[in-house]
Amino acid sequence: MRNVWAAAFRVTVPVLIGYLAIGVAFGLMLEAIGYNFIWAFFMSLTIYAGSGQYLGVSLLDLGAALSEAALLTLILNFRHIVYGLSMLEKFQTITGWRKFYMIFSLTDETYALLTSVRTPQGMRPADFYFAIALLDQSYWIIGSVLGSVAGALLRFDTTGVDFAMTALFVVIAVGQWKENKRHLPAILGGCCTFLSLSLLGPDNFLIPALGAIVVLLLGLRGRLEDPAAAPVQTVKEEQP
């Protein structure tokens, strides 16, 4: 059992750095609008979403209506809707409260790790995934509480440390590129998002980009279906 946690810790170190950095920033912001570390702790425990909780700070500050809070959270976290699609098979062996927790804790970073890690030999995937998910959230909670208690005392200039999150996604993208024979999904994802950002600007591009990616991938199903089960040539020959 200790092995599982050690192995999970190894793969989650980048998230540790990133979550501490953006968690501390969240705690500081929350403290600045008059909510102490107890609020930071409960928000990180129950909401557990990076950009969602940043939004939460402004909602609390402005005294937003509940309906507004619900709608804005839904829009901001809409991308999470597709994450579960890739986890339906992976989570099949997980049951009960652990499955509930795995679904609850499916942040961008945990999703990215779970789609890219290989379970070490001799461990059950369910245990390994659970350890990754739980460690990630503990980093986030520690970061946000730390930020609200001691953020103002931090004298070390941490500007730019949140780049660890970007670097984590870059590293995962490179790993996937090397591993997959077909690069069309990655290219599509990059092009759709870039186009959407160029056309719509940084505030509204995510949902249109996500929609375009899903629609294009559905349209290309004939070309991309099941590369693992059938060699490339066979699939091509079978096309009418």
Partner: protein, 113 residues
Amino acid sequence: MTTLTPAQAAACIAVMAVMTFLTRAIPFLLFGRKGGQVPPVVLYLGRVLPPAIIMMLIIYCLRSVSFAGPSHGIPELLCVAVAAVLHWWKGNNLLSIFTATVLYMILVQAVFV
């Protein structure tokens, strides 16, 4: 200062928690039932989406980079390239992420100020 009572603030947090969980749970509510068959098209999407989503998340992280700004996005693009090349070459997660992040911190704190 806040205009909400503690009870109102707690309600706001609860609503955000429920909505966030809902966005993550919808695929499982729709397709995750025990013994139920997941439609092949959904499994297909689940398999091909991750590389596309990871690219989306990279751009999402870089969304506020301004090429017209004082640093022209050089620190971001350079450090993304460093992470990618280093990882292609060595294949060591921590090495790639640490190097790119430290370089980025130096660039934004000391070079492009």
